[in-house]
Amino acid sequence: STVVMVFQAPVIIGDSSSEFKFSIKRGDKIRVGEALGR
C-alpha cells in the first residue's frame, strides 16, 4: 500500500529562517513519528 501527503508550508523569498525543508532522501526507510521535514 501507499500513502501520499499533500500539504501547504511556508516558502520564504529572501530570509529563509522559516522556509519548510525536507530532511529525507528518496529510498530512505522511515518510521511513524520520525521527522519528514521542518
Binding site: S1, T2, V3, V4, M5, V6, F7, Q8, A9, P10, V11, I12, I13, S18, F20, F22, I24, K25, R26, G27, D28, K29, I30, R31, V32, G33, E34, A35, L36, G37, R38
Partner: protein, 362 residues
C-alpha cells in the same frame, strides 16, 4: 516428441508406443518446470538490474507491459476480498506462532514489537493489523517538524510548482494532485482574507461567500501569494511513502490538525510494488483510496491512503462504520467519490501521532 517416439517404435519393431507415452508426461512436466524456472530467474535478474540502477540514481522510465494489460482483465477486487476471507480463517492456537514467524521471516517484520503474544492473534488478518508495544514509535517533539504518518520507504517528495501541479509516478509519467484528492478538493485561499492563518472564518465576508470561501480550489497555482511581501508565501509540498507487506500498517497524524472531510474512491486494486509503478499508468489514481483533508497551522493538509490487491481494506478508527473494498453493487457511487464531512464547519481535531487509519488485508 511424438514423432520421435513413433520413429523409434517403428525402428524397434513397434513396441515403443507404450514406452513413448510413459516418457511423454514426465518429459513435458520437466520441460514446463524448466521454462518457469528460466522465466523466474529472468524476472529476478531484471528486478536486480532496476534496483542497481536506482541505487546509482538512474530512474527507470515508465514502460507499460503485457502483464499490466492482463491485470486489467482480472477481477482484482473479488480476488482481494477472497484473500481477505482466507486470512480471516481462525487458526488453532498451537499453529499461530509458526505461521506468524514464517510471515515475519518472509516479509522482514519485527515480531518483538507486536503488542500481544503471537498466539493471541486468531488469524493472519488480525496479526497483519497488529498494534505495536507502547513507546515503539516515539513522536518527534519539535513543534516545527512534520513527522512521517507511516512506516515505509520514501518513494518521492518535493514541492509542487507550476500550473500542472503534477506528482511524478516514475520518470516519464506523472498524475495530477486534483485527480488524486478528487476534483472537489479544495485549497484555502488564506491570502485573500477569506480565512485568517489559523483557519477561522473572516468576519467581513457575507454568509454565502463565507460558506464557499472556507475553501476554494487553486491547485492550478499552488503558491498562495500574500499581499504583504514580508509575510511567508505558502508553497504546496508532497511526499509519497510505500509500505511493504511486512511493515506496520497503521497511519498516524503527521501534525496537530483538523480533519474536515473524508473522500472515498472505490477504483481498482492493482499491486503497488516497484514494478507496478513502472508499468501501470495512473496507478495511484486508479486504485481504491481514502483521502482525509483538513487544516494544520501552515494551511492545507491532505493524506491519501491507497490500497493494493493484497491489502484491499482501509479502516478508519475515527469513523469505525466506514468500509472499503465493497462489492461494486453495494457502492453508492461506483464512479465518483463518496464524501463525508466531519462535524461540518468545526472539523475533527487530532494531535500529532494520533492514529487516523489502518490498512488491512481483504
Amino acid at each position: 516428441l511424438q514423432t520421435a517416439t513413433q520413429a523409434r517404435a517403428s525402428f524397434n519393431g513397434g513396441s515403443g508406443s507404450s514406452r513413448g507415452d510413459s516418457f511423454l508426461v514426465p518429459g513435458a512436466t520437466v520441460a514446463t518446470l524448466l521454462m518457469l524456472g528460466v522465466l523466474h530467474a529472468r524476472r529476478m535478474y531484471d528486478d536486480k538490474k532496476v534496483e542497481e540502477a536506482r541505487e546509482r540514481g538512474i530512474e527507470s522510465e515508465f514502460q507499460p507491459d503485457f502483464k499490466a494489460s492482463v491485470l486489467r482483465l482480472l477481477p482484482l477486487r473479488s480476488i482481494s476480498r477472497c484473500w481477505g476471507y482466507l486470512t480471516s480463517v481462525e487458526m488453532p492456537v498451537w499453529l499461530r506462532p509458526y505461521v506468524y514467524r514464517a510471515w515475519a521471516r518472509a516479509f522482514h517484520s519485527k515480531l518483538e514489537e507486536a503488542a500481544l503474544p503471537l498466539n493471541k492473534y486468531a488469524n493472519l488478518r488480525e496479526f497483519f493489523v497488529r498494534a505495536l508495544k507502547e513507546g515503539c514509535r516515539p513522536i518527534d517533539p519539535d513543534p516545527q517538524c512534520l513527522v512521517s504518518p507511516v512506516d515505509g520507504t520514501i518513494l518521492r517528495f518535493g514541492e509542487l510548482k507550476g500550473p500542472g501541479v503534477m506528482i511524478e509516478q516514475v520518470k516519464g509519467f506523472s498524475y495530477s494532485v486534483a485527480s488524486l484528492l478528487g476534483a472537489s478538493s479544495f485549497l484555502p485561499m488564506v491570502a485573500e482574507g477569506d480565512m485568517d492563518e489559523d483557519g477561522d472564518e473572516a468576519e467581513n465576508t457575507p454568509m454565502d461567500k463565507r460558506k464557499k470561501s472556507w475553501w476554494r480550489i487553486s491547485l492550478s497555482s499552488p503558491k498562495v501569494r500574500d499581499s504583504v511581501s514580508s509575510r511567508p508565501v505558502k508553497g504546496l509540498f508532497y511526499c509519497v511513502i510505500y509500505l511493504k507487506p511486512g511493515d506496520y500498517h497503521h497511519i498516524h497524524s503527521p501534525v496537530d490538525w483538523k480533519i474536515f472531510i473524508r473522500r472515498h474512491f472505490s477504483g481498482n486494486l492493482y499491486p503497488v510494488n516497484e514494478r507496478a509503478t513502472r508499468t501501470i499508468r495512473n496507478l495511484y489514481i486508479e486504485n481504491e483510496r481514502v483521502v482525509l483533508e483538513g487544516l494544520w497551522q501552515e494551511g492545507f493538509m491532505a493524506i491519501a491512503a491507497i490500497g493494493a490487491i493484497n491489502i484491499g481494506s482501509i479502516e478508519l478508527p475515527i469513523e469505525p462504520e466506514f468500509r472499503s473494498n465493497l462489492p461494486r453493487k453495494k457502492l453508492l457511487h461506483p464512479e465518483t467519490a463518496e464524501e463525508r464531512l466531519y462535524e461540518p464547519g468545526i472539523g475533527m481535531t487530532l494531535r500529532k501521532g494520533d492514529e487516523i487509519a489502518a490498512f488491512n488485508m481483504g
